[in-house]
Structures are given as C-alpha cells and as structure tokens.
Symmetry: C2
Subunit: 331 residues, 2 copies
C-alpha cells in the first residue's frame, strides 16, 4: 500500500489535524471528526451541516466557511458519521434559525442523519433535511436504496449556503437545496480502483484494458465494465447517460468535471474540453464550469461529470462570494 | 496506460482547449501552447512570463491572472517550450516596462528562455531572467546542471507578480523573485512513478515496498531509493534535508505541502500535520501554509515540501490579491 499516512486506523484524525493547522478559519475536533466555522454559531442565520464518510476530500470539510457549510461531520473512510458527531455539529452551529442537513443518499448516512435530527428536536433545534441523489448510473447500489448522492452535493452546499448567508429562512434554504438536487445529474467513470487504508487492498479489481462505467464514489460496482476508451468516448458515455435521464438541450448548465483523486489536472481539462464540445453539440450552454478534484474517491483514477440546469436565481447564488479551503471566489 | 486522454501525441493542446473553454479570463493558443491574461498587455506594468514542460499542472498556466503571471508557455509533456513560444508570449504581454522571465533550472528551459530573451532584445523589449533552483535533493540531475527548480517557482511567481501588479520596475520585480528563490528550499518524495502519454511506459520502476527520496518533478532519479516509510518519516527526511541546507530555526516560513498528482488530499493534509509538528519542534513558525497539488508530475504519488523564509515585505506580497484558475484570494 503506497500511501502517505501514519497509522492506517487513524487517517481521518491525522488529516483533520493537518486541516486544523492549515486553516485557522475552522474549529476542528480531530478526535470526534467535526469541522465547524470559527464564527459559528451565527445568530439568526440558518446553518448548514453536511458530512459523510471520509476519503472524498475536499468534500465536505473543505467546503466549510463563508457562503457554504457551517459544519462538516467526517466519518471514517467510506463510513457514515455517527449520530453523536452530527448532533454535536448541529448544536455547535445552531444560531436559532434552524439547521439544514444535506445528506448524500447512502443508507448509513440517511439513517444516522435522521437519528441526529430527532436528537436535535429534543434540544428544540429545528432541523430540515435534504437528500442528494443525483447519480444516474444505478437505481440501487451496494450502499444505497435509490440513487447515490455524488457531485451535486457540492452544488447544493454552495447554492443553499449562499441563500443562508443572505438571511433566508429554513424552509427557503431547504427548498433551494432540493431544487438544485432535482435539476442535477451525475455520472462517473473509474480507470483504477482505490484502497481504503484500514483494509489495505483495492476496493475492486480492474483487468488490464478495462474500465468501470457508472462508478460511485466508494469503489462500489457501477453500471458496466467495458474496454478502456478515450476521453471523448468516456465523456460521450457519461453525458449520454445524463441526457437520457434529464435532457440538457436548451439548458444553461452549471458543469463540474471532477477528478476522482488520482487523475492529473491535465486529463481533467482534456475531459472538460470534450464535455464542452459535447454539450454545445447537443444544444446546451455551459454557463458556469468548474474543473478539479472536488468529490474524490481516495486515489481512484477517473472522472465524474455533474450538471445542474440553472435558473437566474441559482446562477446568482452560485456566483455569490464563497470562502472555504477548497472553493473561494468573490470575496 | 490508464489515462483520460484522446491522442497521446496531443495531450497538451487538448488540455489547453479545456483550459480555454473553462476560463474566459485567459487568451489561450492551444496549437502554439501559450496562455496569456485576457487584459494583456498592461501599459506601463512589468509583465511576468514563465513556462516549462507540461505535466506539472496547474503550474504554470493555472497561475496566469491578476497578481501572478501575465503568460505561460506550455511545452510538450516534460519538455521545454521552444523559443518561438516564449518570444510570442513575451511580445503579447509587453506593456513597455519590461518582461520578467521566471525559469526553472532545467538545461533545455534555461537555453530556450535565453534565446527568447535575445530575440526580445532585437524587438526592443527589455527582459530580465530569474532562474529558480530550490531543490536541495541533488546537485546535478539528468536534466540539470545545478539544482532543479521545483516548488519555489510558485512562490516566486506569486510574490513577484504581486510586486509587478503594484507598479514596481523591472529591476525590483526581478530582485524580489531572486530573493524568494534564495530564501526557498524544496525536497520531494515519490511513492509511484508516472507515465508520459507519448511514451506509454512509466518513467521509472519502483519495487514493492520501495520509495524514491529526493525525486524531481519528471520522474528522474532522486537522491536515494529506500524502503517505504510512514508520513512522519517521509516528512522528517524531507525537512532534515532542507534544514541541513538552510537552517529553518527562528524563521517565519511560507510552507507548501504539495501533492505530486496521484496522492489524495487526505494524505496531503496528513503530511501537512507532520510538517507543522516538525517545524514547530525545530524552532520555526509556519506563517503561511498552502496544501494541495500545485506543482505536479502527472499522476505520480508522493509529496514535495517547499519552504520560504519570509520577511515582512515578502509576507505582504504573498497576501496580496491573486485571481488565477489555481490560486485565488483577497479579491
């Protein structure tokens, strides 16, 4: 296992120590796996809490800050955070206007966030929850009833975070996160597996000359194993799957071409060039592009494309200032 | 070869097409491999041009924009740009106050930038050149007479770019870039090799359980091949080498913990945590940290640590606003 780690059982706490040391704008509890804005709680503002298994960095802890999340709960690698983490984060950020939980659709995450929301109610904290399930690749998976939540999580966190920063109420912030999810779709491709440190072995095997279409973000099986293809063909397969589920023609799109962790930035830009060509050729406009490793799967090689059909309001909220370790503009 | 590419011979142009499509703030010539600020030339301002072989993204094209580079020249993968590219970029950004070439110390780069500087003189453009040679690992290498230029290139480009943005003259901008180089040191470790697309085979072989200390950014041999070690030991080897060359005790440091392309962000933060502990234990202060994949070597796994001993002026220039695809703050 060629990893830059110390104890394989403590990678999450060790990484959070680094996050804490590098970003004084965050209050990090490495042992308990919570990352909170240093200025929380913000009185009278809706607070956003997300989280999930670790190994997808910068999601979610890298998105904590002005205009995005108030807190992230970091589970062990590819493992849901426990309700104790979620309720601790929820209480730390509650400013009296309610808390929105943004939850990727994995069975463990959904269950644990639901339990935390019930605990929050006992503390008289109003909680709303939005489930993100944007991945068109499979209807159910190893870890999911229904579609998986992947790249659109970033869109929902950014856009709902901007609305919360404006002072909107909990119902409105939850509604815009749901709207983003409904207007978003994703599809990913793996060119290599990844290795969970505590397991020490790759999550799956790919034979020479093979790739996996419709992969999730945990090395779980995807839709189909096919011969390795070039970037244009991979992008075509990804966008065709998205377009079959939600036609993109005539839309103004927010587009994320996302590196899965082990794919160099040069290749991500090659994939973005192919993506922009494909979308233009199918009557869609890329209004807002984002290229980079934002929702990763450890060192997996591959890419995921996520699109969101923008409205003028969603575009305005996407453009609003954001200042987090991994996304920063306009401020 | 598991790569997200189309034609292995055209990866640079294909990636630049993606860069152009994603960043309207840049004027990109994919065929000729130049990337120029859309607002160039800026009358009366010193312009900064850098460049080198591709495969190190986001270096250099990702650093073109307000407060950093005016242009980048993108050679083929791990191959110096040719003088024609460099003179084209130099002429495109010349605003009458002279042009600074920031050159990593590789024989081909130094030669081609020197030829371009002579061509620029014929066009009555004043050019100053600064060679970056911060890598303490080896005295000479496959591609270098003298030390290699690596992570400090980012420091020099950011800090000199800020001074140019303030309106300083060419001599001053060149002097601050030289000062940054003299006050900076780097050391890198490879946990895996990388594969140049047109070659199709890894640049070197690492046996199971081995790593390469003192690697450069091209898969060229480093200082020593040793058994795989944990993050603390890797960081200790890297910082001990730096400290032996330039003692860090008592310094306020700018520190880059840099992913080489195939190492996930989680591991980069684990390395940063170890780095911050080591430096604190050796009497140095991390005044400005930066963690991420900024100077890469395709999909190589591993990390590089770069440090710069700050002065109040250098700190002010580091903190100045920057707005490029890969570095953005304060604006």
């Amino acid at each position: 296992m060629r990893k830059l780690i110390n104890d394989p059982e403590n990678v999450v706490a060790d990484a959070l120590r680094g996050l804490a040391a590098a970003h004084p704008s965050l209050r990090v509890d490495p042992e308990n796996g919570t990352v909170v804005r240093a200025d929380a709680p913000r009185a009278g503002r809706v607070a956003l809490v997300s989280g999930g298994g670790s190994g997808h960095e910068p999601l979610h802890a890298g998105f904590v800050g002005h205009g995005m999340l108030d807190a992230a709960c970091c589970g062990q690698v590819f493992t849901s955070p426990v309700p104790d983490q979620i309720i601790a984060a929820t209480m730390a950020v509650n400013g009296g206007a309610g808390v929105l939980h943004i939850v990727k659709n994995y069975t463990g995450d959904v269950l644990n966030f639901r339990m935390a929301a019930e605990l929050a109610e006992d503390e008289d904290i109003e909680v709303a929850s939005v489930i993100v399930n944007d991945d068109v690749a499979v209807e159910d998976s190893l870890y999911t009833a229904g579609r998986r939540g992947t790249g659109a999580t970033l869109f929902a966190e950014k856009i709902a975070g901007a609305l919360a920063e404006e002072g909107a109420d909990l119902a409105s912030v939850a509604a815009v996160a749901r709207e983003v999810n409904e207007r978003s779709r994703s599809f990913g491709v793996a060119l290599s597996p990844c290795t969970v440190p505590a397991a020490g072995e790759p999550t799956f095997q790919l034979e020479e000359g093979e790739m996996e279409l419709g992969i999730g973000i945990h090395g779980e099986p995807g839709r189909e194993r096919v011969p390795l293809a070039d970037a244009d063909a991979i992008v075509d397969a990804s966008l065709s799957a998205i377009d079959a589920d939600m036609p993109v023609s005539g839309s103004e799109l927010l587009v994320l071409v996302n590196g899965m962790g082990g794919t160099p930035l040069m290749e991500q830009y090659i994939a973005y060039a192919a993506t922009a060509r494909w979308l233009e050729g199918h009557g869609a406009t890329v209004a807002r592009p984002l290229v980079g490793p934002y929702v990763t799967s450890l060192e997996m090689a591959g890419s995921m494309i996520s699109v969101c059909r923008l409205t003028p309001d969603l575009t305005r909220l996407w453009d609003a200032p954001v200042e987090t370790p991994a996304l920063r503009w306009g401020r």
